[in-house]
């Protein structure tokens, strides 16, 4: 289909998320929408998919102005969406998920599962997307789940496929496979709208790139543009794509994990004998696609998840299975993966959040009574030092932007006397400015001679920060290499093949 967005505007109160956005996608074209986090891409997609109604502007499909009452109608008109966070019901089977909302029925409103399954197999074959229709979705790997999402869209006869940040959860090999699928879909006449903030991918796959920034279209580009050209368009200024670090002079081991075994919430082993060392003055970056045990590993380190066997040692002290309180007091700094869930209390003030990990320590409290004056002045100090944008330290932290919320967490952790920092996906969902800022802070911590473990599924970040890079796959460390290793090799490690270790 030929899709045109003309002058789409969407406001949320005083915030204009989309400002007169116009884009054209031709049939058979892979059109990429490039913008950093917070630029307005998701809002635009929700408008296109019928989940939001635009305040101004029109959607034109094959020359006809169209309005969607809800996303069901968008689907019926041929728009399919592969969401960033999958819209799949975990306990349902593949078949149930694919037919949801469009179920073939027999008498008495019964679902005709036989027909449904046959249809799925047919579409599956047609587009070369192998899935087992009877599998339960939550048991499938993330890559296969994504395939189910795509299958779902295709089985509704989508002519335009929107893919929202699809590569965040994929290994480099899986990304290649996805790109092959996209190319073949485009070749068969489907239009593809591919949303991302990743410069490398955009250059690899897009036919046309539209760059959006702060709700506006700033221009289009060819895939032949350089990364720094694209980055500049995306952010509006020159961007430092690398982080400057002092020379790498590792000291003695400050953090050690030996043969760690941890189970997940369902009782399955997800950390299967992990061993790591981190030296003073170094950042060990742990790369790997999400879902290979990194989340549970960090939770185990922070004391939030029980360790079945193995040891964790920090500064010579065994902290395995200690309580989070003791571990934090012993000198661990923790930037959690889900900042809104684990890192902050959204309804409480910025000041309270800034002492969240140490509310009882003097001078914040005295024999069980809090010293609110000290808490406030401490908070004001940190707001100045770490450039946290907030109207007052007594504002609830929920009123801060994502970037500033993360600054609160970073400020809190780095301002108390910690020895070792564990940061999990520290720049997820942040705009470029905040990303630069967080990276800078972590490097400062490292430059002072402290050790850090940074867990990230963004390869750019891994390369930028890591003095050494460890790769995790299926609960094990598949290799520890230095940053000169190629992306292909790291990709292989992320997919499970072991390459010879070039450093340990």
């Amino acid at each position: 289909m030929r899709l045109e967005l003309r002058g789409i505007t969407k406001r949320f109160g005083s915030l204009t998320a989309n400002d007169e956005i116009s884009i054209t996608v031709e049939p058979g074209q892979i059109h990429s929408l490039l913008g950093e986090n917070g630029a307005g891409k998701s809002t635009l997609m929700n408008v296109l998919f019928g989940l939001l109604h635009p305040d101004e502007g029109e959607i034109v499909i094959d020359g006809v102005v169209t309005k969607f009452a809800d996303s069901g109608e968008a689907v019926r008109r041929g728009i399919g969406m592969v969401h960033q966070h999958f819209m799949l019901v975990p306990v349902f089977s593949v078949t149930e998920n694919v037919v949801l909302g469009f179920e073939p029925t027999k008498s008495l409103n019964r679902i005709d599962y036989k027909k449904a399954t046959d249809d799925i197999r047919r579409v599956s074959k047609e587009f070369n997307l192998e899935v087992d229709p009877d599998a339960i979705v939550e048991n499938l790997s993330v890559g296969i789940q994504q395939r189910v999402e795509i299958l779902k869209a295709l089985s509704h006869d989508a002519e335009l496929l929107i893919l929202d940040e699809p590569t965040a959860v994929l290994t480099p090999q899986e990304i290649d496979a996805l790109m092959a699928i996209m190319r073949s879909l485009a070749a068969s006449g489907k239009s593809i709208l591919f949303i991302t903030h990743k410069l490398k991918e955009v250059r690899a796959i897009a036919d046309v790139i539209t760059v959006i920034r702060h709700g506006n279209v700033v221009g289009t580009a060819e895939p032949t543009a350089t990364e720094s050209e694209l980055a500049t368009m995306m952010v509006g200024r020159e961007v430092e794509l690398t982080v400057r670090k002092d020379a790498y002079t590792p000291g003695e081991t400050v953090f050690e994990i030996r043969d760690l075994v941890v189970r997940d919430d369902r009782g399955l082993v997800v950390v299967n004998g992990v061993s790591l060392d981190v030296y003073a003055g170094e950042i060990l970056a742990l790369a790997g696609v999400q879902g290979n045990g990194q989340t549970e590993l960090v939770e185990a380190i922070a004391g939030m998840r029980p360790v079945e066997s193995g040891t964790i040692t920090m500064n010579g002290r065994d902290i395995t299975n200690e309580s989070p309180r003791k571990i934090l007091d012993a000198g661990l700094g923790h930037i959690p993966e889900d900042r809104q869930r684990d890192g902050l209390v959204l309804t409480m003030s910025v000041a309270d959040n800034l002492v969240l990990n140490t509310p009882r320590r003097a001078p914040f409290a005295n024999h069980g009574t809090r010293n609110l004056g000290v808490v406030t002045s401490h908070a004001e100090q940190l707001v100045r030092d770490f450039d946290i944008r907030t109207t007052s330290v007594n504002e609830p932290v929920s009123s801060l932007s994502g970037g500033n919320q993360q600054k609160v967490i970073v400020a809190r952790e780095l301002s108390r006397n910690i020895d070792f920092l564990v940061a999990s996906q520290p720049t997820r969902g942040l705009d470029v400015g905040s990303i630069e800022y967080v990276h800078r802070q972590i490097v400062i911590h490292r430059n002072r001679g402290n050790g850090s473990l940074v867990v990230s599924s963004e390869l750019d970040e891994v390369y930028a920060l890591g003095d050494r890079i460890a790769v995790m796959y299926a609960g094990r460390i598949s290799g520890i290499v230095d940053p000169s290793t190629s992306r292909e090799d790291i990709g292989l490690l992320m997919a499970g093949t072991t390459v010879g270790n070039t450093s340990d």
């Binding site: 902050l344 209390v345 409480m348 969240l356 509310p359 069980g368 809090r370």
Partner: protein, 404 residues
């Protein structure tokens, strides 16, 4: 947790108006004389006016009786002011309200603390009963001088309530059992236990075959402030209540443990990540909340009836359930709860007075309470009804949901 409503006082007042309006409707639809008057609505030209007059008279009388029964009768007040006599009668309604509100404040503060931590303590009534039993046993079966006996009795009440609170607390902390079902079930268990105690144990009043327990000795009672002869029942219990409110305020706003409680209520995940032990918090919350409920129970006994019987706190005297609505009305904060208790105390006492005067059952007052609380918990609805501009309001949410 905080309710981010900008005009919470306004919302509360409006919710009250709505509650009374609903109450009026209920009176209209269930009073025979009013219905009869409306049946003849179209009979004659004067009939509608008559119907409205009857309505107005009845509803007005009901609410007027409520007011004079719970706060003050203006005529009587004026009389006492001018002649200096009859103060006992004039002050009785307020005294009754305070007497009713005293244990209510204590238990509601406890419930409010649990709600602020994201835990639903629906068992406050049972905990109050157990505390009342424990205190009454200590108060009636041993003899000690008052300066020892009274504190000991009160402490026994606290311990009894805390013991009752320990069960849901421990179960939730160690098995995750949802406290709503456990506490509700525990209420029924304790009611059965109450009957057992007053019928089948030495605590039963000697010489009685009925379900009445022993009377506590004078050394364990909370005497009325103005002396037994004045007819004003308000007791020294109000100092206990005031102390509880002050303690709760300090605890939640200024103490480190209270901070931990509030963090846990606002975000259990962040609480755990930041080092708070969820188990410890859960158990402590139920111990404190239960202990306060138990204290309320014994204060009730020690200041009013001086004995426990088979109907103690059952049904319409169930302050543990009123406490839930009071806590919600007071937005779980001690000062708010204080005002809410006075208000609902007045409703309760006024309801009884209304019943005595007009025959409308006292339970109407509790229905009004429920309606008010429902509206308070839904500020958006109140604003829609009154067409206020919506501020940044948010419906009342507590920390946990479902069976987690």
């Amino acid at each position: 947790m905080t309710l981010t409503s900008q005009n919470s006082v306004v919302v509360t007042v409006l919710a009250l108006i709505l509650g009374f309006a609903v109450g009026a409707l209920i009176i209209i639809f269930t009073t025979a004389t009013i219905l009869d008057a409306f049946r003849g609505f179209f009979n004659s030209w004067g009939a509608p006016g008559h119907a409205f007059k009857v309505t107005f008279d009845n509803v007005g009388a009901a609410y007027r009786d409520m007011f004079t029964g719970s706060v003050v009768d203006p005529a009587g007040f004026w009389h006492s002011l001018t002649t200096g006599k009859g103060w006992d009668n004039t002050l009785t309604p307020i005294s009754e309200t305070l007497t009713y509100a005293t244990p209510l404040v204590i238990v509601s503060v406890g419930v409010g603390i649990s709600f602020q931590t994201g835990l639903f303590n629906i068992g406050a009534n049972g905990q109050a009963v157990l505390g009342g039993i424990a205190g009454a046993v200590v108060g009636s079966m041993i003899k000690l001088p008052m300066f020892l006996h009274l504190p000991l009795t009160l402490i026994a009440g606290i311990l009894g309530g805390a013991l009752a609170g320990a069960l849901p607390g421990v179960l939730k902390a160690y098995t995750g059992a949802h406290e709503v079902i456990v506490t509700i079930m525990e209420n029924y268990v304790i009611y059965a236990f109450l009957l057992y105690v007053v019928l089948s144990t030495p605590y039963q009043q000697p010489g009685q075959a009925n379900d009445i327990g022993r009377t506590i000795h004078a050394s364990a009672q909370l005497p009325p402030i103005f002396g037994a002869g004045s007819g004003l029942r308000v007791s020294y219990g109000i100092f206990v209540a005031a102390g509880v409110v002050a303690f709760a305020w300090w605890f939640l706003e200024r103490s480190s443990l209270g901070f931990d409680f509030r963090v846990t209520g606002a975000s259990p995940t962040a609480a755990r990540a930041s080092g708070i032990s969820p188990r410890a918090v859960i158990i402590l919350v139920f111990l404190i909340s239960g202990g306060l409920a138990g204290l309320a129970g014994i204060v009730q006994v020690a200041s009013t009836t001086h004995y426990v019987d088979g109907t103690f706190l059952i049904g319409d005297a169930g302050i543990g359930f009123t406490a839930i609505t009071v806590a919600l009305l007071g937005r779980n904060k001690p000062i708010g709860i204080l005002w809410a208790s006075l208000l609902f105390g007045a409703l309760g006492v006024g309801g009884r007075a209304m019943q005595a005067a007009t025959g409308i059952p006292f339970d109407l007052a509790t229905v009004i309470q429920s309606v008010v609380v429902l509206f308070v918990a839904t500020p958006v609805l109140v604003k829609e009804i009154f067409r206020l501009r919506a501020g940044r309001t948010q419906a009342l949410q507590l920390g946990t949901q479902g069976w987690g």
